[in-house]
Amino acid sequence: MKIEVNRPAPVDIASEKSPSALSIMWRELVRDRLALVSLIILSVILLIVYGASIFLDQEEIVKVDFLAIHSPPSAEHWLGTDYGGRDVFGQLIIGARNSFTIGLAITLITGAIGLVVGLVAGYFGGWIDNVIMRIIDFILVLPFLMLVIVFVAIVPKYNVATFILIMSAFLWTGKARLIRAKTLAERELDYVSASKTLGTPDWKIILFQILPNLSSIIIVNLTLNLAGNIGIESGLTYLGFGLPESTPSLGTLVSYATNPDVLQNKWWVWLPASLLILVMMLCINFIGQALKRAADARQRLG
């Protein structure tokens, strides 16, 4: 690292460096007005949610107050209270934080598994690929929702970690398949053959030669999946088979609407959470679509 010192004119280097895939995608994203607005809205929501959740006292929020059951929005409770007299706004913040964090965790875990499996299967091919693809084909034809619900119901000591694990066990397959297909195509290109003849070990070829060429696809896929995972999580929680009660999610607030009286008359309990889920998913999707268009355009230009 010390030798870096005698690099001539670092300013020049920076100016000569052509933009990386990420910065090109970022530029395209910012140019897309809808995506930019989505990005701003999402950032604001996340800032508020994560910022406020630091200051909010979770104990205080989940404390049952029978004197204020189902009270409509007021100065004290901005979004009213639920059947236990608990502040809906506070739960909204905590729920949004949990939903987003857990959605992100699932996305990253499945992304990592999908990446490793897809790269290995695509690069090495042969029987490894065959076995992996059979497993993926099998998982993809399973009735996902029902099995997750069954697992959630029968797992002993159920908690957030087990929920993330159960979800990840099913959701890595799509990514692995995508990455595999792309790796397979990339492997046939001569730069991989060149690396082999230059004596570069396989793991380095996979990580430093092929992986950078998949980065835009991975980013697009992870973004769109993040939205999907938040949706699935809150949906399962809505049904009562998502996050455990100790970890309220946006789905928890929405699930109060299973009571027709709440659905019909106490809109402040469930509607804000529903709309927040909707807005977050729309924003992430718009960002993902814009990234996708940018990645496709890059591909067309070669």
């Binding site: 099998f138 034809v141 069954v150 049904l239 299973t258 659905l263 718009f286």
Partner: protein
Amino acid sequence: MLKFILRRILIMIPQLFLLSVLIFLLAKAMPGDALTGQLAANPKMDPQTLEEMREKLGLNDPVHIQYIRWVKNMLQGDLGLSYTHQQPVTDLLAGRVGNTVLLSAAILVLTYLIAIPLGVVSGRWTNTWADKLIVGYSYIGYATPLFIFALIMLFVFGFHLGWFPTGGSVDIQVEEGTLAYYLSKLNHLMLPALSGALINTVVTIQYLRSEIIDTKVKDFVKTARAKGVPERQIYWRHILRNSFLPIAAFLGYEITGLIGGSVFLESIYSYPGLGQLFLQSIMQRDYSVVTALVMISGVATLVGTLLSDIILSAVDPRIRIE
């Protein structure tokens, strides 16, 4: 072609086997067994008789023997006994399956009724305001979770405006078989089916749109146009016909989505179908019903994928080269 179908079916056999093993193991892992049902009906059974019955039912046999017996029974239509309902699971399901099939079919019909005109308009007149509106709808629909949309639909059209009933599959007062009965059924069906279809349709709209845009510039279309074939005819004869077959083929893949969707829709609209039964059973720990339902949807998904793969390979021979 026949070879492809046979090979495709051959692939399905190990999948079916694995599925059954997985579900069997899950069933074993669930608390309770075939005796739990008996016990609920007759709580005063002494441990001696209980053990005898366990032995008689083969619950003390090695696992693989139990598995084989379980598969055999299933193939003969014996799915065990539901202890909350105190009746054979098969009968229980038979009473509910009609509603779920009806709901799913309605969703599919509505999906295509919406998707085809919208997709065609959007693909034919690209970049008009109509197209932009449709594309916007498809983006929003793609991002919206079904359960949120269904809840809002129920809130607005069921409770707020009161246009549709808010639960059940039919009015209890009407007599079965009368016209009023069928109308009531349809009335109860509309809102859940529409909720499902409006979300489900966006994928087909997007597919149709991009397919039409792609075919529009193909040579054979240009030739037809150069020959003076009227635009309408070009669309019907050449473009749409090419796009419809794959869409029809996707039907099988839809099954997974429909099963998942019915769980949400039936729960939100208290619609008495298999999805609602599934949730109820799992909450009441009625695991023989749960096992049966998971197995049935697993098989349905497998068969659906099989059919779609086969139809698609007939439409597009490239898929056959695996």
